[in-house]
Amino acid sequence: MATQAVTLTVNGTKHTVNVDPSTPLLWVLRDALGLTGTKYGCGIEACGACTVLVGGGAEKSCEMSVQDASGQNITTIEGLAATPMHKVQLAWIAEQVPQCGYCQSGMILKAVELLQQTKTPTDAQISAAMSNLCVCGTYQRVRAAIHRAAAM
């Protein structure tokens, strides 16, 4: 496949990568930029492990082409973790949410979006927004951490 130079802004830094422009953003982040905190789970937008913030909104990066993402500000889990940590991350640690941890980058970024849209979400709003898959079954703690972050 023909490669071309694509410029994208990730965590405030501009990058130019030479890739097939149809490559999903997920794989540019992971394999071209070395930002491995964003995870591959399904490749079909069915699990949420690859969730990143694009222009501030949570998007699944596994089916968004790098070309489509190129003009926008992209935040990955690595970019959220400034000093001090984001309140959602602090709440995640306080509630000891992760088990294996694989889905948690996507979970956290989805929760960041939820709290941007709804300052104090109800249980029902959390259930509706948080459809990310966690095979370890950390859902109860995810819910508790979102409530905790909302109160922070």
Binding site: T23, E78, G101, V135, V142
Partner: protein, 709 residues
């Protein structure tokens, strides 16, 4: 355990990273050494007083990277906030003292390592005390370890562990270190300490196998045959720019990125050699074979107690029922992957693995290198669930690296992962049981027909055709039974089967606790009261009573709600689960509450125990409600999460977990304990709600959520 230390005990000191000193302590017991097992644990103390303690267990979410070091820290007397943890590298010196394997499974690590880890902690502490005594020129008896430091009791002078580590590492290791703590006096054991690995799992810095990046590595994907058991005949076409490698059971295909490799693997053309008969295997043909064995045998006895024929003849009432369970995939969040770098003189492997020592054997076999030339680097697993014991993905990466002469980072697509699993075996199980007029069980005749995992993986452990893993949870039952006969037969099929979180218990507890519920109904008794009367095991009764109290069993549920209850024993632990549900539609329900009471003996980290039970219940929920791998045309008809339901947040009610400690009880496992009783508790609640008995999994009584797209 002190006698283990007194046999042969040696120390090695090596400068470690960060200017600290690595106090490497290893000891071996002659009895264990004779069995080929050595024990080894590292403690590193840095000048900044941070203490790094390694875990020999592989982390897949169960918290072993934290709980093993927590046991050492108890005796070492250090502030937990100063503790960093890490994974021990692989090697024969890290073999589990009980299983003699560096594998992580069977909920085994804490049970096997508890006492040796206390001894390691004590030995390390005594060396630091000796170093202080030497520095001050005073007797050891005048020195005492406190949190992270040693005090001179005559002068109140102190020296920190960080200041002492260098001297300590030069001292002889005590031959019989005194373990100071004991049950009832633990300071750190039993505390819900924060897991040191968790911050890295919130900022993207945790490195899973799939995140490994090695200089010069090539991204690669896999293409498996369309029928189980097939092998590569020939690779007939490879996309331009890609390379393909025949690895026997599949073809490895390269790409510029993993995604590019996925695409290239899809378009690579391969002709396959398909074993005769494999392409006609289907769920229904395998079920038919199993059903024939159920009816006619031959089978192998697994347990015989008394005369079950006489027991049945004496029964006032009987049940004669059959339960059916399908193949179930693992579906770990992290797909299978392995990074391998093979040269003429070395082999390095980075893989999310439950079987580090098995990887070493695989690498030796495939490369011809010696163990000393092979390095297995520990990395995190994004879930393991039993699947990551297997060697298929390890072998593929090794063979590809060898063929391509470069490091290879092999990642399976989700579709390849789903359709080339080693599934939880299907099973067909009958129970013919009888009760007397009081409801007491006079006879229990349970036949289990299921493809054997052990015959493939550990044939040497299969005696007379009996797979002891397949009957786990069906024998040595906690119930009073006048007579019992349990038998088993393997039903061969081309479908690969493997260990799946809680293995035999996940099959057999559904059968046991559903059938006990049927007997309760037959006797006209309340399901809780019936179990309480028929259980002979005090710990099983303890968790049953506790869960009944949690859910308020003595009070009737609200109108339109119903409850189910089940108890299970396995991995040295006991759990009872009670579930409440209400009708959602004519055929589906909403589960409104789950309560679990667990007795796992001594608890290292109660928060981890609670997390494992919460997670185990969710996993049990998924498999009971929807877990199924349909087979047709000799292949799994599963591709991805859009057609495979797993529990999502919107399906999962609040789970209350209570730890019920039996004083003095031996330490039990926890990673698998939460799963088995969920399926029967759900089916029993459904029976209570509807009067309909569900004897087949998946239950499909809850509407799944597939995500938001």
């Amino acid at each position: 355990m002190n006698q283990i230390v007194s046999r042969r005990f040696f120390l090695s000191a090596t400068a470690a990273m960060g200017g600290g000193l690595m106090v490497g302590i290893s000891f071996s017991n002659t009895a264990l050494a004779a069995a080929g097992s050595t024990v080894n644990v590292w403690v590193t103390i840095a000048p900044d007083e941070s203490v790094t303690i390694l875990s020999s267990g592989a982390e897949m979410g169960q918290g072993v990277l934290s709980s093993m070091p927590q046991i050492i820290a108890e005796e070492l007397l250090v502030d937990w906030t100063k503790v960093k943890t890490g994974a021990a590298p692989s090697g024969s010196q890290y073999l589990n003292p009980v299983t003699h394997s560096q594998s992580t499974g069977g909920s085994n690590n804490i049970r096997s390592w508890f006492k040796p880890l206390l001894t390691i902690g004590a030995a390390t502490r005594e060396m630091l005390v000796s170093a202080a005594a030497q520095s001050w020129g005073v007797p050891v008896s005048q020195c005492k370890a406190v949190q992270g430091a040693v005090i001179n009791t005559a002068t109140n002078a102190t020296l920190t562990y960080g200041a002492l580590a260098s001297v300590a590492s030069t001292l002889p290791v005590p031959t019989s270190p005194a373990v100071l703590s004991s049950a009832g006096s633990y300071k750190l054991i039993g505390q819900p300490v924060a897991r040191p690995d968790i911050p890295s799992k919130t900022d993207g810095s945790a490195i899973f196998g799939i995140d490994v990046r090695v200089p010069g590595m090539i991204y690669a994907a896999i293409k498996h045959p369309p029928v189980f058991g097939s092998t590569v005949n020939a690779i007939t076409s490879t996309p331009a720019g890609a390379k393909s490698v025949n690895v026997g059971n599949a073809v490895v295909v390269t790409g510029a990125t993993t995604w590019d490799a996925f695409r290239n693997a899809k378009s690579t053309q391969v002709s396959w050699t398909v074993p005769a008969g494999n392409s006609s295997a289907s769920s229904s043909t395998i079920l038919a074979k199993a059903t024939a064995l159920l009816k006619n045998g031959p089978t192998t006895p697994a347990e015989t107690i008394g005369d079950v024929k006489a027991g049945l003849a004496a029964a006032a009432k009987q049940i004669n029922v059959t339960y059916t369970l399908p193949f179930v995939p693992h579906a770990c969040m992290e797909v299978l992957n392995c990074t391998a770098s093979v040269t003429a003189t070395s082999c390095e492997i980075w893989a999310p693995t439950q079987g580090a020592d098995a990887n070493l054997r695989t690498a030796i076999a495939l490369t011809g290198l010696s163990a000393a030339q092979i390095t297995i680097h520990p990395v995190l697993m994004g879930g393991g669930l039993g699947r990551k014991f297997e060697q298929d993905f390890i072998s593929q990466a090794i063979l590809a690296s060898k063929a391509l002469g470069a490091p290879v980072h092999l990642t399976w697509s989700r579709e390849e992962d789903f359709s080339n699993d080693f599934y939880r075996p299907m099973a067909v199980c009958s129970v013919n049981a009888g009760i007397d007029a009081s409801g007491a069980i006079t006879a229990w005749n349970n036949r289990i027909i299921s493809p054997s995992v052990m015959m493939r993986m550990f044939p040497a452990y299969v005696k007379n055709g009996l797979d002891t893993v397949a009957v786990a949870g069906a024998v040595a039952l906690p119930y009073k039974m006048g007579s019992r006969y349990v038998d088993y037969a393997n039903v061969p099929s081309p479908v690969p089967v493997g260990f799946w979180r809680s293995v035999g218990e996940s099959v057999n507890n559904f059968v046991l606790e559903s059938a006990i519920d049927e007997l309760a109904a037959l006797a006209g008794k309340d399901p809780y009261a019936y179990r309480a009367a028929q259980l002979s095991d005090a710990r099983a009764l303890g968790v049953l009573k506790a869960v009944a109290g949690m859910i308020g069993w003595s009070t009737k549920p609200a109108t339109g709600h119903a409850r189910g209850i089940a108890v299970s024993e396995g991995f040295g632990s006991y759990i009872a689960i009670a579930i409440e549900m209400t009708a959602a539609t004519a055929s589906t329900v909403t589960v409104t509450r789950v309560c679990a009471a667990v007795d796992c003996g001594t608890v290292v980290n109660p928060d981890t125990v609670v997390a494992q039970i919460q997670g185990g219940v969710v996993h049990g929920f998924s498999s009971a409600l929807w877990g199924n791998t349909p087979i047709s045309g000799g292949a799994a008809q599963l591709r991805n999460f859009d057609n495979y339901a797993l529990t999502r947040m919107g399906n999962m009610p609040h789970i209350d977990v209570q730890i019920v400690n039996t004083p003095g009880a031996p330490l039990g496992g926890i990673g698998e304990v939460g799963v088995p009783a969920v399926a029967p508790a759900l089916a029993n609640a459904y029976f209570a709600l509807t009067g309909k008995r569900l004897r087949g999994l998946p239950l499909k009584i809850v509407t799944p959520i597939y995500g938001d797209d």
